[in-house]
């Protein structure tokens, strides 16, 4: 339940992906937009990191930086990203191409838009294979494509391989996307909201599939989502992002049961399926994410935070809290001035969203 029972791999140099102090800034006519700010995390092989946050919090921008997918002329990226030990910030285009789709692959939300409408599914898979296996024949590539479609559970793959994306159902398209991502057996797979466009049953199937595949391929997986329910099911570790910054980071179960940052509380309160409790209430976070052009002073979340009155002075509005261990061990980090977050959470938040869990948690703390 605590950090001692979940070995932390965050500071392990063997981690396949290590991101340190990543900052991504877009110069725009209205001024610089800092979409990712001083972000650090790492993921080991066989591990799953969940990155959560509302839309616009910088999840996609940060993960696209890992594959170098930003237009370098229009983007300022600083910090360090090491994929399998290789530094990729400042890496040239041809070096980057060898990594993309090969040792690190990405699958995207909305597979209908992310697959080319004019090419057959099989041809798109084969293309991904051939670019990293230049000596493979057309027939090899096709066989590989069919094999992957079969592996992700597409019925009659030898026939469906010649379909166009629009002839697939939504779930099948996402499966095909996953097959394309895994075709070169990557060590790192980034799944950017892989189930957002799908209905609930299909969503569960896709998540199951991803879990199965991860066990089989033993890759490092980043799953990006705005749904803590998805994270609870999939992730070993969780990173909560707000306005481009990491605001809480820790082992999944620890973080979900003892969240220490009011923004995480807000995310927990705003999902219906965190417990099956019928008394559970759905409370959306008030207000909107801040403008990145003119971010709030101090803690970016303070204008929306209901707990600033528990912090002495106007600290929340004046000083950015550092990302530091809270009261629950060194591997659970939070960016918040609150001195006793656990207590506040149990008393004010849990009582609202899941009254019968309050007792349990207080026992646990005692």
């Amino acid at each position: 339940m605590t950090q001692t029972s979940t070995p932390s791999t965050r500071l392990d140099t063997d981690d396949f992906l290590v991101v340190e102090n990543l900052t991504v800034e877009f110069p725009t006519p209205d001024g610089p937009v800092r979409a990712v700010n001083d972000l650090s995390y790492s993921v080991g092989l066989g591990q799953t990191l969940g990155i959560v946050g509302e839309s616009g919090s910088g999840k996609s921008v940060s993960s696209m930086a890992v594959l170098g997918l930003h237009d370098m002329q229009r983007t300022k990226i600083t910090g360090s990203i090491r994929v399998g030990g290789q530094e990729i910030i400042g890496l040239d285009e041809s070096g980057m191409r060898k990594i993309r789709g090969n040792s690190a692959a990405m699958i995207f939300q909305d597979a209908l838009a992310a697959l080319h409408p004019f090419y057959r599914v099989g041809a798109q898979l084969a293309e991904a294979y051939v670019v990293h296996h230049p000596s493979a024949s057309k027939r090899d590539a096709r066989r590989k494509a069919i094999e992957m479609l079969d592996r992700v559970g597409i019925p009659q793959p030898d026939k469906r391989v010649d379909d166009f994306p629009h002839q697939f159902s939504g779930g099948m398209r996402q499966r095909a996307m996953i097959a394309m991502g895994l075709i070169n057996d990557p060590s790192l797979l980034i799944a950017d909201e892989p189930t957002t466009a799908l209905d609930v049953t299909v969503q569960a199937q896709i998540l199951d599939l991803l879990q199965d595949l991860q066990r089989e391929f033993n890759s490092a997986v980043i799953i990006i989502t705005h749904d803590l329910g998805v994270v609870a099911e999939m992730a070993d570790e969780v990173l909560v992002m707000y306005a481009g910054r990491c605001v809480e980071y820790g082992a999944c179960k620890e973080l979900l049961t003892h969240p220490e940052m009011p923004y995480t509380w807000g995310l927990l309160s705003s999902i219906p399926d965190v417990t099956a409790d019928t008394n559970a209430r759905l409370i959306p976070i008030p207000g909107n994410p801040p403008s990145l052009l003119d971010p709030p002073s101090g803690c970016s979340f303070h204008p929306r935070c209901a707990h600033t009155d528990k912090v002495p002075g106007a600290l929340c509005a004046t000083t950015l809290p550092e990302l530091l261990p809270g009261g629950r061990g060194t591997s659970h980090l939070k960016r918040c001035h609150l001195a006793n977050p656990d207590e506040v959470f149990a008393r004010e938040v849990l009582a609202e969203i899941a009254p019968d869990m309050v007792e349990e948690t207080s026992d646990d703390r005692a």
Binding site: I99, R100, M106, D110, H116, P117, Y119, E127
Partner: protein
């Protein structure tokens, strides 16, 4: 697919019939007797009222319009016998009438003039794409850069000049002012007579059409490319590790071509129906110039034929555009 083509051809036939009726009505409801220009020319300007009445009678303008239209349609499909003045002429199908001005059968002239128009159109259309697409792609890839801005504004200037002025200036400078070799001696020689002269004589008209028309294609291509390159599937293509050129051409341009090809099909139809300014300025005896002269001479049978020919070309090119579209975009189902 087959049913679709048949359906579209039938609809096209309706269009052509309607246009032919509208043109035919010109003969009857125009401001002056359609027999007068014939009479004037045949009598050397001594067209008396009596002679005019004779011409009207022999040309059939005293019969009801539907009867004459019926004969016209019959002529198109099975041929007919024409009465011109005192002589009778056999006009085989497809009979489009007789040009009193040129003393020829209209269909024969159409066939004779087609190669010139097709030659001009083919070269011009080729340059539309051969110049427009690469320049558009280059501008889209560098959008916002100095190159992009220079290209876009240059083409804006070129396309804001009226085409006839553009072509006329090109002709004057190349032929009269600088007497540039090759370019300065434009004119049409049939390909079968001398391919070299055919090509050199058409070079300037092609360049005029191409340089002027490609500006539009640059704009289309640039717009479609900018849009295509911002699509999610482009990001996917990059994320696979494909080289930039594959991403831009195989994934981006493949999508951007669809709207461009659609416009191109229509433009090709317009060119084939006769390039009036080009043929006039460079004195190319094609369908456009033929139609223009016929309007001046009130040679109604020729005017009608060029209008009908234009209608048929447009109907066919529209159908071809749709067929090509369905090949290019697998999501399109023809029905």
């Amino acid at each position: 697919m087959f049913a679709y083509i048949v359906k579209r051809l039938l609809a096209g036939l309706v269009v052509v019939v309607l246009i032919s009726m509208a043109v035919f009505a010109l003969f009857w409801f125009g401001p002056e007797s359609p027999a007068r220009p014939v009479c004037e020319s045949k009598t050397g300007g001594k067209c008396t009222e009596e002679r005019l009445a004779n011409f009207e009678e022999s040309l059939g303008y005293n019969n009801p319009i539907y009867e004459e239209y019926g004969k016209y349609v019959k002529g198109v499909f099975v041929g007919r016998e024409l009465t011109v003045g005192t002589q009778k002429i056999d006009c085989d199908a497809p009979c489009l009438g007789y040009s009193f001005k040129n003393n020829t059968l209209v269909w024969d002239d159409l066939v004779k003039r087609m190669p010139a128009t097709v030659s001009v159109a083919a070269g011009g259309a080729f340059l539309y794409l051969a110049l427009g697409i690469p320049i558009g792609v280059a501008a889209a890839r560098r959008r916002g850069s100095l190159t992009d801005k220079v290209l876009v504004s240059t083409f804006l200037v070129v396309s804001s000049v009226p085409y006839y002025l553009f072509a006329l200036l090109a002709w004057i400078y190349c032929t009269l002012v600088f007497e540039i070799p090759v370019l300065g001696s434009s004119g049409y020689t049939p390909f079968t007579d001398n391919p070299w002269k055919w090509a050199t004589g058409l070079l300037l008209p092609w360049l005029c059409l191409g340089l002027f028309g490609c500006t539009q294609y640059t704009r289309y291509t640039r717009g479609a490319m900018v849009e295509a390159l911002s699509e999610d599937y482009i990001r996917t293509a990059k994320a696979k590790g494909l080289p930039a050129s594959t991403v831009v051409y195989r994934h981006g341009l493949r999508s951007a071509l669809v709207p461009v090809v659609t416009v191109f099909g229509i433009d090709l139809g317009v060119l084939l129906a006769g390039t009036i300014f080009t043929e006039k300025i460079f004195e190319i005896q094609g369908i456009g110039l033929w139609g223009l002269n016929a309007v001046g001479a009130k040679d109604l049978q020729v005017v009608a034929a060029t209008a009908l020919f234009g209608a048929v070309v447009m109907v066919v090119s529209n159908l071809l555009v749709d067929l090509v579209y369905s090949v290019l975009d697998p999501r399109v189902r023809l029905s």
